[in-house]
Symmetry: C2
Amino acid sequence: MTESALPTVICTVDVVLLTLQQGALQVALLRRERAPFAGALALPGGYIHAQEDADAQASAARVLRDKAGLQSPYLEQLATFSGPVRDPRGWSLAVAYCALVPPEVLAQAPLTLVPVAELPALPFDHRAMVDAAVARVRSKSQYSSMPVHLCAEPFTLPQLQAVYEAVLGEPVNKVSFRRKMDELAMLEPVPGALQGGGAHRPAQLYRVRPAYRRNLSLSARGL
Amino acid sequence: MTESALPTVICTVDVVLLTLQQGALQVALLRRERAPFAGALALPGGYIHAQEDADAQASAARVLRDKAGLQSPYLEQLATFSGPVRDPRGWSLAVAYCALVPPEVLAQAPLTLVPVAELPALPFDHRAMVDAAVARVRSKSQYSSMPVHLCAEPFTLPQLQAVYEAVLGEPVNKVSFRRKMDELAMLEPVPGALQGGGAHRPAQLYRVRPAYRRNLSLSARGL
């Protein structure tokens, strides 16, 4: 069969945008303006624009910028979902991405945050995408710097440990957490920045080293 | 922009078909019959056929069946590669898959096996796909049943251990290997089947339990 005789595949991207609020992972949903499923809450997504996008990752970044006002958050390709029935418009393929942001940057965005444990019915196969993203984040949090992208900078080590604990859904030993952070070598102290005081000793504030703002730091063993 | 005004995206699948021969991971390449890059060795791949494929995974299985005569080997989605320059025909998107097979099943296939450590120049971004597949297999071999798909059934535990060692590129402790196999619970003894004898005690032969022929068994800790 020649290329021109092949039926068109609808090519889109969808983004599972996760954040942490009230100690729980939340997914950001957007009310759909157009058919199909107009009016329904769904993942932010859109067509790949071959005339302007450098790749599907750039399509996902553009969708986040245009629909949620977000500039270059941490963004990782999750998986591609495809087939004849997932979209009523026809045979379609969606490259799904996972984005992680601190809740502070979503304050002005026109998004609805929903705890991943209390998802409403979602159109397309968006539920499967959310499930895949949550599984990925939980699994990678065991042995990488991934959760740091859920934490607004600068932060103290106890604040970051609380983020890891919220993602993993269980307490983390303080000593092994600090050893893991040393091993990942992704943090740097903010010079001269201390938090607090009060009854406690002031705590050093940290930020992510530039090399790890777009990439993960991995360790061989889990927390 | 309306859907019909969007430039077409060329949608393909490519398969990184890996096997183990002479103690080294090898990738199976196929000589391309058509332009672009006619005559070059490349990964087996082809267009998504929206009129017949149930999803991109089915496209990859069809490509392996039609071009290499392989029936349903272990097949896992790797990542999607996309952009305006990776294919001279235009903006394209390739869903890359990783397939693992024992060398025995490739004996009749019109494929060229090349050690992954000695790759020739490959067209498109096939080199990046091979690199991603090898990294995935090495990483997953630490904590999953993945290498079992490189081993022809039935096999003895020492034979399977040699497969793990070849993939990981380092010796594995026999006691922790056997503990890991128990934990993964993916093997079953073939009733009454023993190998050898000679100077040694005959060894039990094993096969993969049906539930793990298409899915991996995972463990929380690495080997």
